[in-house]
Amino acid sequence: MAKITQQDVEYVARLAHLAVDDAAKERLAGEMGDILGYMDKLNELNTDDIEPMMHAQEMTNVYRDDEVKPSLTREEALRNAPQTDGEYFLVPRILEG
């Protein structure tokens, strides 16, 4: 039975780039515990010799010719960005200096 602690919630939130306040931690620990507990029913099945279904369809590698085709202009690519300098996406400073 999956038991999800508030510390687990905090750890997963950090991986997921989400912030959880104390109320959310408590709520999510309960909800995730319930849902993951339900998922534990899969352990009733012995799947040692079963291949995982990695692909939704039987397809091998799909190749295409390496040709240049029309693509977005820089202006179009930047149009929805929250912050740009007209040439690049801008983000808060990453490196000190």
């Binding site: 999800i4 687990d8 919630v9 997963v12 939130a13 991986l15 997921a16 780039h17 989400l18 912030a19 999510l28 909800e31 995730m32 319930d34 849902i35 993951l36 339900y38 998922m39 029913k41 899969l42 352990n43 009733e44 099945l45 799947t47 079963i50 291949e51 995982p52 279904m53 990695m54 692909h55 939704a56 369809q57 397809m59 799909v62 295409r64 977005l72 179009e76 690519a77 149009r79 929805n80 960005a81 929250p82 912050q83 996406f89 983000v91 808060p92 400073r93 990453i94």
Partner: protein, 489 residues
């Protein structure tokens, strides 16, 4: 003298446009007027493109006037779920994080429908990022079921289904990851089909769970479904998961004949837990087909009980990966409340993703995290293999499988929002179909005593949408009830 063109099926309307009884502009105006009259109550549309639609219609009329072939759907008004990228208007997946996003390109299916002469009326409401079964997770508005405004339209393509049921478009585009076309089609009494994985290009469909997502239409009847699939299906170089298997002319599958068809009924679906009007109506539909010469056999899908657990592991895992792109860098919302890049990521997501989306990202991150990957994600992929094998074995004994689409008719607004697991369990009959990558369709099979539609689900072998259409078409010709149309208000 203007007629109520919005009441016609797409195939009747396109004939009327072709033979000059009406024009694309008049037909489009009829739908726009209909939207103005009823959408205040239904709230299927989040954005109506009145000017753009009339301009598109004028172009179609001009082509017809010049004697050109304006396409198989010339003059047919269409609504688009907000999960598809469109150059016109915004593409938001009904999430605050994409508010105002203007796609620089059209989804392949949008391009195809436009090239076929379709007229786009606007964008339709949905659960945020297609996560939900009632459309109540939309960050924009609540959509009401046209058959009973106090009920949900189903989800996640609830806007698409409600728009068809209320005659607010002739065809609607939807997407289906675990039942998001079929369940709302059942709730709203229209036809909705999820094609085989790979049948339709997903280029420009905002990704939720990439091994499960598929594009499909909502229509008023089976002929409209066949005509629309003819336009949508086919390989697309821009989607490497789209299949090269040839696409037939689906209208040729519309044959009133089930004499050599074997129908499978999974014993795990018809348990004592399935009761009420849903069971009565579905069994009556099966009897209609049996009476027309179909053979009915019992089949077994032994891993049915595990499908929901498998589905919610795989779909949350894939969603957590797909939704990582909404980081406030290239598009979408960026929180200004951030001192560094990490805070920008965290605050952008936390401030704008709704509770269900955050819950699924958390679950998906957990099942993929170090130490749990094998126990959850790998285990789920193995059981997915077993579920697909169940269907392969069942289809050795039958041509189609018939089930209810949903265990209950549309539930009341607010009834299931408090308990996420309860909401997940309402997808019991639809999710295995995505896990097995097979085609599935919901079509109306009657009304409950309280006047809510019941959906019959028809499942087929991979890439055998034709038999699904044939069985559905035959049933539609002989069904033992009058569906009628909802009185809105």
């Amino acid at each position: 003298m203007s007629r109520e063109w919005y009441k016609l099926t797409a195939h009747a309307l396109r004939e009327a446009v072709r033979n000059g009884e009406t024009t694309a502009v008049e037909a489009t105006q009829s739908y726009l007027d209909r939207i103005k009259a009823v959408d205040g109550k239904v709230q299927a549309y989040i954005d109506v493109w009145e000017t753009h639609a009339l301009q598109q219609a004028e172009k179609v009329d001009a082509r017809l006037k010049r004697g050109e072939d304006a396409g198989p759907l010339a003059g047919v008004p269409i609504g688009v779920k907000d999960v598809f990228c469109t150059k016109q208007g915004t593409t938001t997946c009904c999430s605050k994080i994409l508010k105002g996003y203007r796609s620089p390109f059209d989804a392949t299916v949008v391009e195809k429908l436009e090239a076929a002469g379709g007229i786009f009326l606007g964008k339709l409401n949905m659960d945020e990022f297609a996560m939900g079964s009632s459309t109540e997770n939309s960050a924009v508005q609540i959509t009401h079921n046209p058959w009973n405004l106090e009920c949900v339209p189903g989800g996640s393509s609830g806007g698409s289904a409600a728009a068809i049921a209320a005659n607010e478009c002739a065809i609607a585009l939807g997407s289906d990851t675990g039942g998001s076309i079929r369940q709302p089609a059942a709730c709203c009494g229209c036809v909705g089909l999820k094609p085989t994985y790979g049948r339709v290009s997903r280029y420009g469909l905002v990704a939720f769970a990439s091994s499960l997502d598929q594009v499909g239409p909502f229509t008023k009847d089976m002929r409209d479904m066949a005509l629309t699939l003819n336009v949508l299906c086919g390989q697309d170089p821009r989607d490497s998961t789209s299949s090269t298997i040839p696409v037939p002319d689906f209208t040729r599958a519309l044959r009133d004949d089930v004499s050599n068809i074997t129908i499978g009924l999974p014993r795990e679906y018809y348990t004592d837990a399935l009761g009420g009007d849903v069971r009565v109506r579905v069994e009556a539909a099966i009897e209609v087909l049996r009476g027309l010469g179909a053979k009915v056999v019992e089949v077994s899908l032994p891993h049915t009980d595990y499908a929901i657990a498998v589905y919610y592991i795989i779909c949350t895992a894939e969603a957590s990966a797909n939704l990582a792109r909404f980081d406030g860098v290239r598009y979408g919302y960026r929180s200004l409340n951030a001192n560094d890049v990490r805070e920008m990521y965290v605050n952008s997501k936390t401030e704008m993703f709704g509770p269900e989306v955050q819950r699924r990202i958390m679950l998906g991150t957990y099942v993929l995290s170090s130490g749990y990957y094998d126990a959850y994600y790998l285990k789920a992929q193995k059981v997915r293999t077993l579920i697909r094998q169940d269907f392969q074995r069942a289809f050795e004994q039958c041509d189609v499988i018939l089930t209810p689409t949903s265990p209950t008719p549309a539930f009341k607004l607010g009834e299931k929002t408090a308990d996420p697991l309860e909401m997940y369990l309402s997808d019991i009959y639809t999710i295995s179909v995505n896990l097995a990558s097979i085609p599935g369709m919901s079509m109306p099979c009657g009304l409950t005593d309280s006047g809510l539609p019941v959906g019959l689900q028809v499942l087929g072998k991979p890439f055998d949408e034709e038999t699904v259409l044939r069985v559905g078409y035959t049933y539609e010709q002989h069904r033992d009830f009058e569906m009628g149309a909802p009185e809105i208000g």
